[in-house]
């Protein structure tokens, strides 16, 4: 039971820590942003509270000290400095470490603990000596606020006030010039249009004025119309009521409803705000936390991720079973059954889409870590780098996000270490001193594309070529396009780091990145321009577990080809295929290279009259795949083929058909690559 609570706490605390970290990074950009400071403080406060409750005393105690510092900041008795931010970030790291180690803390961690504690204490101490001065400085400001008084003014001009040339609006303008002012026109006396006299004034105003001027200067405004109107000026309270959001809200409300407020209501309102400063703070705080709570309950609930996994599995099973039902209904042929089967199909498809959208999370979730990495690393490397992200609301399957973080971190490290130059070098090259790394995410069909762009030195293709020759990966004569040379960086054992640093260049380089991305069915490409920058493009599937595919048959085996790559399907005469010159065929007036899959899979030639060619997109080309039969569209629940088939790149998985038969899911990109490569080799050997 207790463990359960603890787990919950750890989960929650991790969230708080992340929240603090993110807010801190934002604060660095915008050190005086009050809501951000509030956010940090609040998260610290909750962390302290729940930590103490669940017996994480170290965390609670540590956070308490941090909180003290941010309480000072919050009350504007201390300003955010980069020293403070550094210390806080280090503390946040320490907190995560504390969370992980729980009860038995290691020696090193304890040392870190006391060291940070001391630093924080020093901060508070150093500040308290400065405090007096700081208070002096801020005081006038506070006083100027406190000096203001709020008046309630009822201005009811006589109907014929305008006949002597007075424009009541000018009077209002004058009031506005005295201080902060809010007016509510009361228009209920305006008659219907046929009785309306444009020379008469029907409107009464209720005005709230917060000003340093005294009551006399207010009545002075109306000195010339004293006889033409009814005027009441009352002091409501001796602070600026208009800076109270609650009050302004109330007035807005009244104004929208076209009611009048009346003096008594205002006085009631003020009476409720006993001690304005305190109350107001508390109110706005309460309000915020309530609002936060509300946001949470309405917009999201927390669900354990294994429950989601379970849901996904069930949905997958349902889809498989539904396929079986559809198959049975079709063979049975009863229209009513067919009808039901069709409905079930529709529902399960919707359910599938819905369930899948649940496990999608925006990539925003992993950005904090990247920001932090860029911040810390650029400092360490003495580079000035700004990290920007676009399309952060792009959503991906959570398993993809989980598996994507490491490769992306690696790519960022590379960009920082090898890509972006030091400010000095950059200036010499005529670039702005500050480097930039941009992460861009967007949807593209059934894929999500993530691009990481840096405006650094770019990749030197000559250097890569020389190095590849040195390492014996290619020979001197191998003719390679620029793209092919750049692709060499993904070959295992190829690391261009001239000097091995702590950051990158440990030999495990881009090949690991590529493999990790391939594990989640993604692809990675690199483009680079010397001194302009490098762009890495990662193409990812939206989801890992179900794809919309086309069910086809070759000999006795069923295959599923993802619909997303399919362009068109043609029926073609068998003899035409066999006679095709150089494995190209003209379809719709376009020459299209094709592969006869039976040949590629080592099967004998088919003896039918007609076969199907499926034209798929491969890189930016169109390639045909000739096979026996097209069965139809199929929702494939992907199942792994298992570690033993890991080397079978052209088959990315399997799915179970309605009758229990297994269909293999083809990765056409990898297949075509393999076929094309093989053709090249055999042609060379001829």
């Amino acid at each position: 039971m207790m463990d359960n609570f603890k787990r919950k706490f750890i989960e929650e605390a991790t969230e708080h820590i992340q929240d603090i970290e993110q807010a801190l990074l934002e604060l660095e950009q915008n050190p005086s942003d009050k809501p951000l400071i509030e956010r940090v403080f609040r998260a610290m406060h909750s962390l302290k509270g729940s930590g103490a409750m669940f017996g994480f005393e170290k965390i609670s105690e540590f956070t308490h000290n941090l909180e003290t510092v941010y309480d000072l900041v919050r009350n504007e008795e201390m300003v955010i400095t980069s020293d403070l931010l550094n210390l806080t970030l280090a503390s946040v790291d320490h907190l995560s470490a504390l969370l992980k180690e729980d009860a038995d803390l290691s020696e090193a961690l304890m040392q870190q603990h006391s060291r940070l504690m001391k630093q924080i204490d020093e901060f508070v101490l150093a500040d308290s000596s400065k405090k007096n001065a700081a208070v002096e400085l801020t005081k006038p400001n506070i006083e100027s606020e406190a000096d203001q008084k709020t008046y309630y003014i009822l201005f009811q001009p006589n109907e014929d006030i305008m006949s002597n040339g007075t424009n009541p609006l000018f009077l209002l303008d004058e009031l506005y010039s005295l201080g902060e002012c809010l007016s509510i026109p009361i228009t209920k006396k305006i008659p219907s249009l046929d009785e309306f006299d444009p020379n008469k004034c029907y409107t009464t105003w209720e005005i709230f004025l917060s000003t340093k001027s005294d009551i006399n200067s207010i009545t002075d405004v109306f000195i010339f119309v004293e006889d033409d109107c009814e005027l009441r000026v009352n002091l409501v309270c001796d602070y600026n009521l208009l800076s109270t959001p609650l009050f302004v809200e109330k007035i807005e409300d009244v104004r929208n409803k076209q009611q009048e407020i009346g003096l008594s209501q205002v006085q009631d309102f003020v009476a409720n705000m006993v001690s304005p400063e305190v109350k107001q703070l508390q109110k706005s705080k309460d309000e915020k936390s309530i609002q936060g709570l509300k946001d949470q309950t309405i917009s999201s609930i927390r669900v354990a991720s294994d429950k989601l996994d379970q849901l996904m599995n069930l949905v997958s099973e349902l889809v498989t079973t539904q396929a079986r039902l559809s198959l049975y209904a079709e063979t049975d042929g009863r229209p009513e059954l067919l009808n039901i089967a069709e409905n079930v199909q529709k529902l399960s498809r919707q359910l599938r889409d819905n369930a899948f959208s649940i496990v999608l999370i925006p990539i925003e979730n992993m950005l904090t870590r990247f920001q932090r990495l860029v911040r810390d690393l650029s400092k360490e490397l003495k580079k000035d780098v700004v990290f920007e992200a676009e399309g952060t609301d792009t959503e991906l399957d959570k398993t993809i996000i989980e598996n994507l973080t490491d490769p992306l971190m690696h790519i960022l490290r590379n960009s920082l270490d090898h890509g972006i130059e030091t400010p000095q070098v950059r200036i010499e090259k005529g670039k702005p001193a500050q480097g930039k790394i941009l992460l861009k995410a967007f949807y593209s069909g059934a894929n999500v594309i993530i691009q990481i762009f840096d405006d650094g030195s770019g990749i030197d293709t000559n250097f890569i070529r020389t190095k590849a020759i040195q390492k014996g990966l290619i020979s001197h004569e191998t003719p390679l396009t620029k793209k092919e040379i750049l692709d060499l960086i993904f070959i295992p054992g190829f690391s261009t780091a001239a000097n091995v640093t702590d950051v990158s260049g440990r030999g495990v380089g881009m090949d690991v990145v590529k493999r990790k991305i391939a594990d989640i069915r993604g692809e990675v490409e690199v483009e680079s321009e010397i001194n302009i920058g490098t762009t890495l493009t990662i193409k990812l599937p939206l989801t890992l577990s179900i794809i919309d595919g086309l069910l086809v048959k070759i000999e006795e085996v069923y295959y599923v080809i993802p619909l997303s790559v399919i362009d068109k399907i043609y029926a073609i005469e068998h003899t035409k295929l066999m006679k095709a010159f150089n494995n190209t065929i003209v379809l719709d007036g376009e020459q299209i290279p094709f592969f006869y899959l039976r040949n590629e899979f080592g099967l004998s030639e088919n003896n039918t009259t007609h076969e199907q060619i499926i034209v798929v997109r491969y890189e930016d080309k169109r390639v045909g795949l000739a096979l026996d039969n097209v069965i139809g569209e199929y929702q494939a629940v992907l199942k792994p083929l298992g570690k033993h088939y890991k080397k079978q790149e052209i088959i990315s998985g399997a799915t179970i058909l309605g009758d229990g038969t297994i269909a293999l899911v083809m990765d056409t990109n990898k297949a075509i690559k393999q076929f094309a490569y093989k053709t090249l080799i055999t042609e060379d050997s001829k």
């Binding site: 498989t320 080592g602 298992g642 570690k643 269909a663 293999l664």
Partner: protein
Amino acid sequence: MKAGATVITSYLTFKLGDEMFGANVAKVLNILEMTKITKVPKAPNYMKGVINLRGSVLPLIDTRIKFDLGETVYTTNTCILVLDIDLNGEAVHVGALVDSVQEVLEIEEAHIQPPPSIGSKYRSEFIEGMAKINDEFIMLLNMDMIFNTAELSLLRESSGEIEVGEEKE
């Protein structure tokens, strides 16, 4: 053997051709009759394909080819052993085609002899030990090792290097 509280001493015996082998029952999850196999293109010949095992996809290995006894000829006795293999610390299920399944035997540890260091046809890493039951020798196999090795032959003559799995990190 693994250091468990209780060491399982039951062995499932099966035949490949005329030779008798034994697999610790802790490794065998299931014995299936022959079923429809879906062939995976461009796979090595001992990788027979995949079968549908109650909704999940099970890779199938022709054990005879692994032992260099020629491809399995399907008979009514041909069976599939569903094995729970430890692949670099990860539990993986795999199906193994065998000619026939015999029985489950209790073999005391004391009765198990170490594999012969010389004269054996197979490399010693793959054999846990030998047991003599009813005047017949049974080779007790290390299933983890056998079904771990990707394309490696189990025979002694092949290159001396042992390459278990492919993952190195």
